[in-house]
Symmetry: C2
Subunit: 341 residues, 2 copies
DNA sequence: CCCTATTTGACATACGTATGTCAAGTCAAC
DNA sequence: GTTGACTTGACATACGTATGTCAAATAGGG
């Protein structure tokens, strides 16, 4: 039988009320008695029955996901996963809202964050770039008692309670290792594309890539990252130029957002070249490209796992419970046509 | 506000008792009233609060994992994951026991299954080969009201409630695709090893491998599977012979159990050969081999996920709740040194 | 040692559901 | 219209925890 608060009260030789005051950090309890209760908790190995507690409290959790707006396949799949996870955990007394912000505009982000109703809010999952303003806004939210997790993109300099996402440096390394192995005995260069290198994710991935190539596969050379800022023409031109300039072009690494544009350009300009293609993020676009054989492998993070993990972590924080690290570790997945899910 | 049984009673114009009788399938309710209650449930969108229900029932779940005994790194990691998941979900009112059986002896397996206390048992996760005797034992357990999930190894001809594991055919395909891509422009043959081909897992993986090689990489030829039945000498001899006979040996595919022996033999006999090595299952052995660069990639399934999924599915079955498919989908992971976790 | 401020305990009620008891109600058949 | 069988409803208690009220106990200062 698991011990209950009654057992604690008896063991500590105090009343239920006192146990309650200690357990829930209420004031007006003498240190001596507080110690006795804590001792009893330790001795009996008491753990609060969160379900019963939530029942008694009529507790509902109010969580908000802040995601970047604008057309983006990856964000769409993430949002879908959040909605799905929320629906499935409908039994789990959590109200989840998704709000979109213009992530490129720190001012707009902060404005939206400030407009959250801190009175009812229990936690926020934030997928926005880190800026000083955002950092302050996070501090503000936290000081109001809500929890904040960095979501997908880390916010290393902010006072977040957790980061739910992958290590993008390792992701870049993985891409590099994959390319190195796919081009086992070959020498040549690799075209690296990204929609934009302002996001720290892309920068970290690039570092990871370079590190592995330099160390393990010096025969492969990664060209400077091409940023195309949503401009199909730009990537098309660059690709054409690259194939012309670099006769030894062997592979393309698409570092995330903008896969669709990149793949289209590839189809138009490099059809007969037999390039190895590695891309990031599993979206309808990359999924189809895997099936069609246009992409050899995709480096992905499971969006369902991301969403569920963020929800679990926020709940755990609210309940002041421990986090089950093994479950919350988001893995860097390598997806090919054969293990597509 | 979520509707409660009280709301249902009011809406249906019956008493709480009647609602309870209908909801919990007790006898002695006139069809007309049963219908009214069910209607009210539908109209109000009532879902039972499982936590409150479990609290009232003092419900504890009793689950048993049946795993193959004998020295096996993979089973060890699985057992560890089960223990860890159990400990972490200690709050979750489940008692979990792991029992080991001699999986090679169907009679022993059945004997152990028969000795389970069906009176208190709520569910079993079974990781044993399928035999007619096992099939009968499963039917027996189910007729006693407990739930059965096939764990890691599918039991397609038995009346299980669920299968928690990967599709091994796809896993074999994945291995084939990986080998095909790692040996992008090369021609040659692949050594395939397994400790034993009696387990259906190995057979399915082999089929998957062959299918992909034949279709997509005909330049690569997989040699007949070498089974070495825990005999290091056998694999060493075979490897020596293979390297002598097949000058074009390019890769080794280790289909699971016996990775340690295989890797050791490889170290002794094929040190300078620059072979591509793909293995199954992430264990301390393959983990170290990845770090050391002895293995290029490991096809794995996340054992933590396996354990948690089995527990969740069993619980869902007991609660007569739906299964959240997306979460229970076990993925075929490709693990390299860089995305090792 | 008294007074006051603080701390404590006893008790009641609640959360949403389960379950048991018993009296009252309904129904069909005679 | 009565009997007996079946069905229903009212009520009480419980699960483990939270929370509020109020009187009683205690500590500390003078």
């Amino acid at each position: 039988m698991k011990p209950t608060v009654h057992d604690i009260a008896r063991e500590a030789g105090v009343s239920l009320s006192t146990v309650d005051r200690v357990l829930n950090g209420r004031a007006d309890v003498r240190p001596k008695n507080a110690e006795r209760v804590k001792d009893a908790v330790r001795r009996l190995g008491y753990v609060r029955d969160t379900n019963a507690a939530n029942l008694a409290r009529k507790r509902r959790y109010k969580f908000v996901f802040v995601l970047p707006e604008g057309p983006n396949h990856f964000v769409d799949t993430v949002a879908g996963a959040v909605r799905e996870a929320t629906a499935a955990q409908v039994t789990d007394r959590a109200d989840v809202e998704i709000v979109y912000v213009n992530a490129a505009d720190p001012h707009a982000v902060v404005k939206r964050l400030k407009s959250l109703d801190l009175g009812t809010l229990d936690g926020v999952a934030l997928m926005v770039p880190e800026t000083p303003q955002v950092r302050d806004a996070i501090a503000h939210i936290k000081s109001a008692g809500a929890y904040v997790v960095a979501f997908v993109s880390d916010l290393p300099n902010s006072k977040c309670d957790h980061f739910v996402g992958i290590d993008n440096f390792s992701a870049g390394q993985t891409a590099g290792a994959l390319l190195g192995r796919f081009l086992r005995k070959e020498t040549g260069c690799i075209l690296v594309t990204s929609n934009s290198m302002v996001a720290r994710d892309s920068i970290e991935r690039r570092y990871g890539l370079d590190e592995v190539l330099l160390r393990d596969f010096p025969r492969l050379k990664a060209l400077p990252t091409i940023e195309f800022h949503d401009d199909p023409q730009r990537i098309r031109d660059t690709l054409t130029r690259a194939t012309a300039t670099h006769a030894d072009l062997k592979a393309v690494y698409s570092m995330g957002s903008g896969n669709a544009i990149m793949l289209e350009a590839l189809r138009e300009t490099a059809a007969g070249l037999d390039l190895v293609v590695v891309a990031h993020d599993l979206t309808p676009v990359t999924r189809q490209a895997l099936v069609d054989g246009e992409v050899d492998a995709v480096i992905a993070q499971n969006v369902g796992h991301l969403a569920r993990s963020a929800l679990r972590v926020l709940r755990a924080k609210c309940d002041d419970a421990g986090i089950y690290e093994a479950q919350e570790q988001i893995r860097i997945e390598i997806v090919m046509r054969e293990n597509l899910y």
